[in-house]
C-alpha cells in the first residue's frame, strides 16, 4: 500500500519525527559545547572586571591574572550585609560562587520593570529596588598595594541592555575606572559608551558631594572640569547616556549601604 503523502496522518508523522530528530541533535550539540561556551563567557567577564581597574588581559591569560589580582568575591544584599564571600580560584561551574551570579538575568527578571515604572522618582526607585531579593556581587582587587572594589551593573539603553563595571578606590567614594558595554545601541551614537573617551571621564569622579551620596550624572553638553559629580554625555546618544547615569546611580546607591558599613567599621 502506497503511503498518502498528502494525508493528515503522514504530515503529522513527518512533523513529529522531524521535531524529535532536530531536538535531540541540537540538545546533544548544545550540551557538548556548553563547557567551552561557559568558559568563554567567564573569561570575557574577567577581562571586563580587570579592564575596570585598568589591567589589560587577553582571553588566554584572563583567568590567571584575575585569580591573582581579585582577592575576594563578596555577595552583599541590598541592606549592605555580606551574604557570602569566596576566595581562591574561580570555578565557573560553582553556582554558589559570587562570580557566577548573573546580574543581567536578575535585572531582566526583577529590576527592569520597577526601573521603568519609577524612573522619574529616584528615592522611591531605590526604596523599591532594595526590597527585591536580588544579590549584589562585589569584587575586591589588589593592585600595586591598593584595594579596589569592582561593582558590576546592568541597565537599559535606547534599544536594549547596557552593562558595565565601575571600580571604586579604597575610600569607596572615588571612581577609579569604568567599562561599559551594550548589545544593540546605535553605532556612532549610543554605542560610543564603550569607547575609551567616554569611560575615561569617570576616572577620579566622586560619588559624594558635601558628605552625601549623589552618584555621577551624565550631563548634556560639557560638564565643568571642577564638577566631580558629572561627566559629559554623548552627542546624539542622550537616551543611552541617561541610561548609563540611571544605571550608575541605582547600582551605586545600593552598594553604598555596604560601603557605609565598611567605612564605619
Amino acid at each position: 500500500m502506497a503511503i498518502n503523502k498528502e494525508g493528515n496522518g503522514y504530515t503529522f508523522g513527518f512533523a513529529a519525527v522531524m521535531v524529535i530528530l532536530v531536538g535531540a541533535s541540537l540538545a546533544m550539540v548544545s550540551m557538548g559545547l556548553k563547557p567551552d561556551i561557559k568558559k568563554n563567557e567567564a573569561d570575557k567577564k574577567m577581562m571586563d572586571i580587570l579592564g575596570s581597574i585598568d589591567v589589560e588581559s587577553t582571553r588566554e591569560n584572563a583567568a590567571e591574572i584575575f585569580n591573582t589580582m581579585v582577592t575576594e568575591r563578596i555577595l552583599v544584599n541590598a541592606q549592605g550585609e555580606v551574604i557570602r564571600s569566596a576566595t581562591g580560584p574561580v570555578d565557573p561551574a560553582d553556582a554558589e560562587d559570587p562570580f557566577n551570579v548573573d546580574v543581567r538575568k536578575e535585572y531582566k527578571q526583577m529590576v527592569s520593570k520597577i526601573v521603568q515604572a519609577n524612573k522619574n522618582d529616584k528615592p522611591v526607585l531605590i526604596e523599591k529596588v532594595s526590597e527585591l531579593p536580588v544579590n549584589y556581587p562585589l569584587f575586591k582587587a589588589e593592585k600595586d598595594g591598593e584595594t579596589y572594589y569592582v561593582v558590576p551593573m546592568v541597565g537599559t539603553g535606547l534599544w536594549g541592555p547596557i552593562w558595565g563595571y565601575v571600580s571604586m578606590e579604597s575610600d569607596m567614594k572615588t571612581v577609579y575606572g569604568a567599562t561599559f558595554d551594550h548589545k544593540t545601541e546605535t553605532p556612532g551614537l549610543g554605542a560610543e559608551i564603550k569607547e575609551d573617551f567616554f569611560e575615561e571621564q569617570f576616572e577620579g569622579e566622586s560619588t559624594y558631594e558635601d558628605g552625601d551620596f549623589v552618584s555621577i550624572s551624565v550631563v548634556k553638553g560639557t560638564s565643568s572640569p571642577d564638577d566631580k559629580n558629572a561627566v559629559d554625555g554623548i552627542t546624539g546618544g542622550t537616551i543611552t547616556s541617561n541610561g548609563v547615569a540611571e544605571m550608575v546611580y541605582r547600582t551605586l546607591a545600593i552598594y553604598d549601604n555596604y560601603f557605609k558599613k565598611q567605612r564605619a567599621s
Binding site: K5, A15, P187, G188
Partner: protein, 228 residues
Amino acid sequence: MSEVAVEEKQEVKAPSEPLFSPKNKRLITDPLNENNPITIQVLGICSALAITVQVKQAVFMSLSVLFVMIAGNWIISTIRNLIPSRIRIIVQLVVVATLVTLVDLTLKAYVPDVSEKLSVFVGLIITYCIIMGRFEAFAMGNKQWPSILDALGNALGYAWILIAVAVVREVFGSGAIWGWKFIPESWMMSNGGFYMNNNLMILPPMALITVGVIIWIQRSRNTNLIEA
C-alpha cells in the same frame, strides 16, 4: 509491452552525467556574477551592510552561510520526496534554524570574539531569503549533487561581495586588513601626521554605497544585466 521494456533498458544504459558537466559548472559560475544573490537578486543585503566593517567578520559570516547553505540544500534535496508539500516551508525553516543554531553554538565555543561581533546576525541567517530561496527554488526539485553545487555557487557569490565590501570598508575606515594596521601610527593626524581614517566608512550607509558601486561596475561591464 516489449517496446516499453526496451525503452527502460536504454534509460538505464544512458551514461550518467559527468560531475562537472557544463550545466553543473554553470550552477557555480552563474551566481558569482550574472545571477549574484546580492547584486542582482538583491537578497541578503542586510548582512552585507551590517557586518562588513571588518574582513574577519565578513569571512566568518561567509563561512557560516556557506555551511548552512550546502548542508541545508543537501538535506532538503535528500528528503525532498518525503516532505509533505503542505508543510514544506515549515520543514525548510526548521532545517535552516537547526543549522544556524549549530553554527551559532560552534562560533560561541571556538571563536568567541567573532561570535560577539556577529552577535544577532548569525541568528538572522534563518531569515535570509537567499537560503530559503535556494531550498524552495532548487533543492526541492533537484538531486543532491546539483543542489550542493548550486549552494556552493550562491554562497560563494554572496561571500565575494561581502568580503569585497569588507575590504573596502576596513581599509578606508580603520586603515587595516584582518585587524592588521598597515598605515603607520606616525601618519595618523592624531600623532601629527597627514592621514585620518574615514569614520563614515564604518557606518552602514557606506556599505550600501559600496554595494552600489559594485553593482554599477558589474552592470557597466555586462550590458545584458541592464534593464531596459
